[in-house]
């Protein structure tokens, strides 16, 4: 052991260095947040939260139910005798079993399904998280109002631009 090491050992140099670092952190911002009392951060655009569904847009093709990895979308359709069109009779999503993978949104050819930015929907009962047609439609009206066009333009993958090279693609712009 060299003298330098000995001095370090006797005077607890490394311990004091660590302490100094800890002490200096006393004067920086707190890294923890007091959720939910103080700060409720809004989710970023495109966040995969609670489902919303539009009865107007849905054509009843059942592709969303087909691709869903956890098989938690239940659809029942019926052909209208007069107009010969499919009518969606039942459209339920069991949110407790959902993985929030957004595959259903990508599978939907009509853009009738979206994952909204709403993420605080914890509840005490299972029924409250079993989304029926009406609840999903209400979600659509509440959280997607005025955002529909923008949402599907940006988050309905794969978009046509993803197969080519658009002008405004993000690249490294150098150091700030």
């Amino acid at each position: 052991m060299t003298t330098k090491e000995l001095i370090r050992k006797i005077f607890f140099v490394e311990i004091f260095k660590g302490m100094a670092l800890t002490f200096s952190r006393l004067f920086t911002h707190a890294v923890t947040r007091r959720y939910p009392h103080k700060i409720r951060r809004p989710a970023q655009p495109g966040f995969r939260g609670l489902h919303a569904w539009s009865g107007e847009r849905c054509v009843g093709c059942k592709l969303c139910a087909g691709i869903c990895p956890s098989q938690c979308i239940y659809i029942a359709t019926e052909t209208d005798k007069e107009t010969k069109k499919l009518v969606v009779k039942k459209y339920d999503i069991e949110v407790l079993r959902c993985l929030f993978c957004s595959f259903c949104v990508e599978a939907c050819p009509e853009g009738a399904l979206a994952l909204t930015e709403h993420y605080e929907y914890a509840d005490y009962s299972r029924e409250a998280l079993y989304m029926t047609m009406e609840k999903l439609q209400a979600n659509w009206d509440k959280y997607m109002a005025g955002k529909v066009e923008d949402y599907f333009k940006r988050f309905w993958g794969p978009r046509p631009e993803d197969f080519s090279t658009p002008e405004e693609q993000a690249v490294f712009r150098g150091r700030k």
Partner: protein, 413 residues
């Protein structure tokens, strides 16, 4: 080696012949906070020395392999998020790379760079969580919040990238889900500029701290040859001094286009594994920077029979753009998976933060795998726990569990 001899029972204690000692059996887990999940260890103790250690796994078994066989190649992807939920991005990429090799498709260059970049973000976030909990188990509480400060930023970046923080499901077969935004790239670059300073902070707190050294040096030693025989991979193997990293020796994605070094240890003890991971974080940071700097322009997903076609060409109401071929392809893929999947078997391994994650598929030509087997590094590492713990002290069991970095979601699958 003074530290090693500490593990042996003291030899100068004499026991009177009429007195008997008895080994006691201690159950550790499955709900012990230091077992990082639901691992149960049955320890047979002679005083404070461990005579026998038997790990029991399976408390978190969800049948992921079987579930994968009942899903199409496309929709089994989110299951891999739940294997190693700490670094779900890397699991996703491992799965996607394996399926791509099976189907014989190649993602575009830009997608490869994006994947490499986010995989290294996943590696950093995994190592940060490992560092925090490992240090917390051993008794250093300070780094815990420090690492969460940085991890939170990576989580926020993931959220900005793909809308989910933990279970990302970001890569797709033949590309990635969506393109990176300019804001994301700038934020990530800013993060990589300050991250090396953060690593220095953790090192100030731990690397030379005498308590940390006493708790980690010479504990859980496994020599290189034995480490290979036990099938250890990743930082645990490299801590024993074996230069083995799949990113270097069988590069996938863009790893052959970036420069990085593989850190290796000498003694194969807990401290060396710690150092390997610390240096790996710095190297991951380096890879991210290179990926951002070299990120080429181009498509992010390929147009093949195995990938979902562009939206907008599918809506039957929009008669102008409606494309019948695309519609039928989309329908088949969403309902029953890729139809023309080649028959055969394939094993593809990727380097996840914990070691070698391998996917083995037997394909019978349908849209679903006939057999999906997952080679999970945590499972192999957990099997080596008796080798690491036996002969050591009870207190060192916790350092050993921490140092092999297991996640039970992956171990039990």
């Amino acid at each position: 080696m003074e530290e090693i001899s500490r593990n042996q029972p003291p030899s100068d204690i004499r026991i009177a012949p009429e007195l008997h000692t008895r080994e006691i059996t201690l159950n550790m887990g499955p709900q012990h906070p230091a077992t990082h999940g639901v691992l149960r260890l049955v320890l047979e103790l002679d005083g404070e020395t461990i005579v026998k250690c038997t790990p029991y796994v399976g408390y978190l078994h969800r049948g992921t392999e079987k579930l994968g066989e009942n899903r199409t190649y496309l929709s089994a992807l989110p299951l891999t998020d739940r294997l190693d939920y700490v670094s779900s991005m890397n699991n996703n990429i491992g799965y996607v790379v394996a399926v791509e090799r099976l189907l014989g498709i190649e993602p575009p260059e830009r997608a490869k760079f994006i994947r490499t970049m986010v995989a290294e973000m996943g590696r950093i976030s995994n190592h940060l969580l490992w560092l925090g909990t490992h240090a917390l188990d051993i008794g250093a509480i300070t780094p815990f919040l420090y690492v969460f400060r940085e991890r939170e930023r990576i989580m926020d970046l993931f959220e900005e990238l793909c809308g989910a923080r933990l279970t990302v499901s970001y890569p797709r077969i033949g590309g990635v889900r969506n393109d990176v935004s300019q804001k994301f790239l700038d934020d990530l670059y800013a993060f990589t500029e300050e991250f090396p300073g953060r690593i220095d902070e953790y090192e100030t707190l731990l690397t030379v701290n005498r308590i940390w050294l006493r708790r980690t040096k010479g504990v859980g030693v496994i020599p290189a040859e034995e480490a290979i025989n036990w099938g250890l991979t990743g930082p645990v193997l490299r801590g024993s001094g074996v230069r083995y990293d799949i990113r270097k020796f069988a590069p996938y994605d863009a790893y052959d286009k970036v420069e990085f070094e593989i850190p290796i240890g000498y003694n194969g003890d807990v401290y060396d594994r710690y150092m390997v991971r610390i240096i790996e974080m710095g190297q991951a940071n380096r890879i991210i920077r290179q990926c951002i700097e070299k990120l080429p322009k181009g498509p992010i997903t390929i147009d093949s029979p195995f990938t979902l076609p562009p939206k907008g060409s599918l809506s039957r109401r929009d008669k102008e753009r409606f494309n019948k071929d695309y519609y039928s392809r989309h329908f088949v893929l969403a309902k029953s998976g890729p139809k023309e999947a080649p028959q055969g078997e394939i094993y593809v391994a990727t380097e996840v933060p914990k070691g070698e994650l391998g996917f083995y598929f037997i394909s019978d030509g349908t849209g679903r795998p006939y057999r999906m087997r997952i080679r999970a590094p945590s499972f192999v590492h957990a099997s080596a726990l008796p080798r690491l713990c036996e002969g050591g002290l009870v207190a060192d069991v916790i350092s050993n569990i921490g140092s092999i970095d297991i996640v039970l979601g992956e171990c039990d699958r």
